[in-house]
């Protein structure tokens, strides 16, 4: 009776090393890293990013380029706090891409409403970059962003450029904080919630499609507002986030009412998600 040795050389859970080519701080608790990774991906997909000894976390891609991958990360947990200390030139373990994506081709000709809250703007940035290049293919494009304070606003350098092409609306939960005066580069916004902006600016559902990404409460409230304006469930796309470990429908952690966030999402059309209590 002999014991055999099996070397597991190819595994879908095995990551590869990629170099960090730039690191930029966006706000007090978030940063953007660019990886030297020529990844063929779609808009709205995500990758797994890991540091040996710390762990692995799913992070959405916030760029739209074949030459590099950008990840915008907020420091909220062990893994993301550790990632914040990564420096330019260092290497990260990554695998991906995973998940569904925004069906940009099938939505051509529609008006797009993009609603992002806090770090939920990050997965939508790839979409916005794409739309910036393909404005002709779509109708009116409105962006609605909500941030806690002006100092927390993400991608501030791009706001001016975006406001020239799109209808850009920003809301802040708190306008003035002594420590964080409104930055010069920051496009001025209103105090309040992003749902108010959506409610004030959107009047009907004709040829309109909405993309939502942000905290659960923001998504819930925005859906309420859109429903009042006559939106159907199939006109709303939303990004769901769950704890996940594998990205291929095995670990079972990301299941929402029978749907795997990693396989059937993370971009869901609202009518695909059954009614849940979560």
């Amino acid at each position: 009776m002999t014991t055999k040795e099996y070397i597991i050389a190819t595994s879908p859970l095995k990551p590869e090393l990629k170099k960090v080519i730039s690191y930029k701080r966006e706000s007090s608790d978030s940063f953007t890293i660019r990886l030297d990774w020529q990844l063929d991906h779609e808009l709205g997909q995500f990758v797994f990013c890991s540091l040996p000894g710390v762990g692995e976390a799913p992070i959405s891609i916030c760029s739209n380029s074949k030459d590099y991958v950008e990840l915008n990360i907020r420091e909220v947990g062990n893994m993301t706090n550790a990632l914040a200390h990564v420096k330019k030139g260092e290497e990260l373990l990554v695998r991906g891409p995973y998940g569904t994506f925004y069906p940009m081709d099938t939505l051509k000709g529609n008006d797009l409403i993009i609603v992002g809250g806090g770090c939920g703007v990050a997965p939508l940035k790839g979409v916005i970059d794409y739309l910036h290049k393909h404005t002709k293919d779509y109708g009116d494009i409105s962006l609605f962003f909500g941030f806690r304070t002006p100092a927390d606003a993400l991608f501030r350098d791009d706001h001016e450029q975006w406001s020239k092409v799109f209808d850009l609306n920003i809301s802040y939960d708190k306008m003035d904080e002594p420590d964080h005066p409104v930055g010069a580069a920051c496009i001025s916004g209103k105090q309040g919630f992003v749902t108010q902006l959506v409610s004030d600016n959107i009047h009907d559902n004709k040829n309109k499609v909405a993309f939502l990404c942000g905290p659960t409460i923001m998504i819930e409230k925005t859906i309420e507002v859109l429903k009042k304006k006559g939106f159907n469930n199939n006109q709303i796309f939303l990004s769901a986030e769950r704890l996940m470990y594998c990205g291929m429908g095995k670990c079972g952690r990301c299941m929402i009412h029978g749907k795997y966030t990693c396989l059937d999402g993370s971009v869901f059309r609202y009518d695909e998600l059954g009614k849940t209590e979560e």
Binding site: M1, T2, T3, K4, E5, Y6, I7, I8, A9, T10, S11, P12, L13, K14, P15, L17, S50, P52, G53, V54, G55, E56, V76, G77, N78, M79, T80, E91, L93, E241, R242, L243, Y245, C246, M248, G249, K250, C251, G252, R253, M255, I256, H257, G258, L263, K275, E277, E278
Partner: protein, 331 residues
């Protein structure tokens, strides 16, 4: 083609198999020893095999989906491929529910991207079933659709075993140990394939019961211990985490089973818990067993082994509860 194996030759057969394989069969638990409940273990002698009882207390799944699987080792940022050391093994005495559980795990680990760890352990295994005659107080496999999934299936025919071949691997196994098997005609009768259960599950679609208020009553008894997940032959959820050595430089990434009944199952950074209530977690498990898996793979996940009820420390009998809710729902 069906075969027979005389019970007088059985211990000789086991010894012959043990020369080349690990022979894994149910061993009777002894409260004074480490193995306290009946479970599948590699045997040292044919007398160890304990097949008189119904199904083993513990499922066989951990032989395929290791309790602590090393996904890779690392040294700094360098990833080192793991090595799985394994003997070829033969499982004997698997019941239909155990085998269907393995089938469901195959469905999960082979679909989408094939899992090499599971596959390695699975490929080194030959599955020999032993058909039940009757269930115990907790089994309800007659209510679910357990399919024929085995390499070989043994049927107790008094003085000998009648054997049905279910796969090429099973046929090869028969050829390897051909001295012990005699060819026979169609000796397995429909009566042999019957399992008498008294306990039943009403498998009516439970979609409409999702917002039923009675779930609360059931979940209030639950202590979120996760015994049902541990004992279930299907449950496959896992956690991946890094274990770092004292040098803070080397370590390994490991995969361990996880329980959906534990609060931290859906906890994300920022202390947000998606399934925060016991009722939401309990419903998640029951719906995964009876609906979610069926929606995806067109087969009921639950195999009717009854281990979750047998092993529950607070005696939650979810099957009777579902039956009750279904009964009351009917006009």
């Amino acid at each position: 083609m069906q075969y027979t194996l005389s019970k007088n030759d059985f211990s000789g057969f086991v010894k012959a198999v043990m020369n080349t394989h690990d022979f894994i069969a149910p061993i009777q638990g002894d409260p004074s020893k480490r193995v306290q409940k009946t479970q599948f273990q590699p045997i040292t002698a044919p007398e160890d095999i304990h097949i008189e009882v119904g199904n083993a207390y513990f499922p066989v799944k951990y032989y395929f989906f290791d309790k602590k699987e090393t996904i890779f080792e690392f040294k700094g940022h360098k990833v080192i491929d793991p090595i799985i050391k394994l003997k070829d093994r033969v499982f004997f005495g698997l019941r239909r529910c155990d085998l269907t559980g393995i089938k469901h795990q195959d469905m999960v680990f082979y679909s989408n991207q094939e899992d090499p760890f599971y596959k390695t352990r699975r490929d080194a295994s030959t599955l020999i079933g032993l058909h039940c005659k009757e269930g115990d107080d907790y089994c309800f496999c007659n209510s679910v659709t357990n399919s024929d999934f085995f390499d070989l299936m043994f049927f107790d025919k008094g003085e000998n075993y009648a054997i049905e071949v279910g796969s090429e691997k099973g046929q090869n196994f028969i050829s390897t140990f051909h001295d012990f098997f005699k060819e026979a005609g169609e000796i397995i009768t429909p009566a042999d394939r019957e399992i008498k259960n008294t306990f039943k599950l009403d498998t009516t679609d439970i979609k409409k019961l999702y917002f039923d208020e009675q779930w609360e009553e059931l979940a209030n008894k639950c202590i979120s211990c996760g015994a049902c997940n541990t004992l279930c032959p299907n449950c496959h959820c896992f956690t991946i985490q890094d274990e770092i050595n004292f040098d803070l430089h080397t370590g390994k990434r490991v995969r361990t089973p996880a329980s959906c009944q534990v609060k931290s199952f859906t906890r994300v950074a920022g202390e947000h818990i998606f399934r925060d209530t016991r009722v939401a977690r309990y419903k998640h498990r029951v719906y995964h067993q009876l609906q979610y898996f069926k929606d995806r793979h067109d087969e009921l996940f639950c195999t009717g082994c009854g281990r979750c009820i047998r092993g529950c420390p607070v005696r939650i009998d979810w099957v009777s509860h579902i039956n009750k809710m279904n009964r009351e729902d009917k006009p």
